[in-house]
Amino acid sequence: MSFDKYHGVMVFAEQTDGRLSTVSLELLGKGRDLARILNAELSAILLGSRIKNMAQELIYYGADRVFLADDPKLANYQTATYTGVITRQVLESKPEILLLGATDIGRDLAPRIAKRLGVGLTADCTELVIDRESGLLHSTKPGYGASMMYTFVCPQSRPQMATARPGTMKVPPKDAARKGEIIDISKKAAAEDEPVKVVKRVKEVKKGAKLEEARIIVGAGMGVGSAEGFTVINKLAEALGAEVGATKDPIDEGWIAGDCMIGQTGKNVRPELYIACGISGAIQHISGVWDSRIIVAINTDPNAEIFKIADFGIVGDLHEVLPALIEGIEQRRRATRPE
């Protein structure tokens, strides 16, 4: 089978309530890299209502071309409508690669699109690269609770589709001087019928919701000692502009909300900096943090497993170390930014 007619990388730019999802920007960064290697164009497809300004934003973040469907029918994500519009645009533009975020929306939408197009799809990837020899997209994803990694290719169909796990790729720098083309495809929305009616949408701020997007995370384990012990954890997080996460045990103790759980039964995170406080380092937790750029461990036990995966460690009681750390951070901040 020849795929000569297929060119370029297309990214589904996901927005809700007029806000672009971070993973869409991450995908533009990754898409740009892939397009460069393929010597091809990077496009984005953006659906919503009153979102024209966002199309320009996508160009600043790396898109050469944005397919914009702006219609009141597209205000909120709905499976059938979005599937229809995107599928028809893909059939027209024929990208070689189509990427979506592995979010609620992406995981609802991508399999449906892949099936309608009759193409292969790899879910929840943490790594996307072009194999220089074959030119194929190699999509790598964890399996069996992160105990294994698997790499997939889709050699027989185009576009090659993948969803990417949020937080695993870098947001590219914004370049307000970048130029690109915006193509209005709003008319495509008219043809779609939606069999599922949304009666209402309710926003709930879930604790720990930002963990996957956080640059810095303070993680807490049993060493914190009590619910009150979290005061100093929260203070450190505040001083660093960080989010708070935890291992399973303090959550089971009821010291902190379950949504904050990091590790095998919780979230996978990869912040720039992870500070493990009073965490022994069981594999169930470590597997959820070991992609962090820098890991700092603070623990009373010098033989704790956590020190084996740490870049920096302090052997000591967190209730003594953390106050000193907070003070140190504030001092340095005052020194660099005098009031």
Binding site: M148, Y150, V202
Partner: protein
């Protein structure tokens, strides 16, 4: 109301035996169980049947031993159990699996509702539900944490990252459920013994299904695995500071500042 529940047998327990060279699961002697999300789908089907009447059919595709999971479903209370098992099915990806399931479900005749678990604990893709819905040209409602049927209309609450959504659709519909929807019943030992002795499991092979052989199994899969490996943690600097907290903290902050992580 006729409900069909798609289930999968998955390896149970935290440690899954895997051939680290090929990435293949070492099924031999590996304890397995019904995928957790799928148990919640079974439970919800049984609850809906208790309220609205009708029947529940459990269906799975897998090797012959996947019959165990159907016997457990029978012990939980489903009316009918169907096993799709053939060497030709082996190695199917989500697209291939949903294709085979769709053909089998059509063969079963009319239905009102298909329930699936949100995702499996092994593949973790959450793709089979939506892909099956597309194969059968059905509306899909994913991540459901509450569901009821009133006068042929499904009303469901979808659990989302930033809240929830209430939706409605006319039957027939395919829904995938999350674990917060219910607590699955545990079949009694008596029911399990009955299901093993007397329970009937219908077995269909490729010959029983009208399906293009090119779409089956590994050959018919659009995704191909090229590599399996054990993830290796990155090499770390491993600088550990002991001694007075203030000295240790100063050293640490110097390092973090040097990497532009603070300040």
């Amino acid at each position: 109301m006729k409900i069909i529940v798609c289930i999968k047998q998955v390896p149970s327990g935290a440690k899954v035996p895997i051939d680290t060279r090929t990435g293949a699961l070492l099924r031999e002697g590996c304890p397995s169980d019904i995928n957790e999300d799928d148990k919640h789908a079974l439970e919800e089907a049984l609850l809906l049947r208790a309220k609205d009447g009708g029947s529940v059919t459990a269906i799975t595709m897998g090797p012959p031993q996947a019959e165990e999971s159907l016997r457990e479903a029978l012990a939980m209370g489903v009316d009918e159990a169907v096993l799709l098992s053939d060497r030709a099915f082996a190695g199917a990806d989500t697209s291939g699996t949903s294709c085979i399931l769709a053909v089998a479900i059509r063969k079963l005749g009319d239905f009102d509702l298909i329930l699936c678990g949100k995702q499996t604990s092994d593949g973790d893709t959450a793709q089979v539900g939506p892909q099956l819905a597309e194969e059968l040209q059905l509306p899909q409602i994913t991540f459901v944490r509450k569901i009821q049927v009133v006068n042929g209309i499904v009303q469901a609450e979808r659990s989302l990252e930033d809240g929830y959504e209430v939706v409605e659709a006319e039957l027939p519909v395919l829904a995938t459920v999350v674990r917060e929807i219910n607590t699955p019943r545990k079949p009694t030992i008596g029911a399990l013994i009955d299901a093993c002795r007397k329970g009937k499991v219908i077995v269909w092979t490729a010959a029983d299904l009208e399906i293009d052989r090119n779409r089956l199994g590994l050959e018919g899969s659009l995704t191909k695995m090229t590599r399996a490996f054990v993830p290796q943690p990155k090499k770390r600097a491993g600088k550990i500071y002991k001694g007075l907290p203030h000295d240790a903290v100063r050293n640490l902050l110097d390092e973090l500042e040097g990497k532009h992580l603070i300040g």
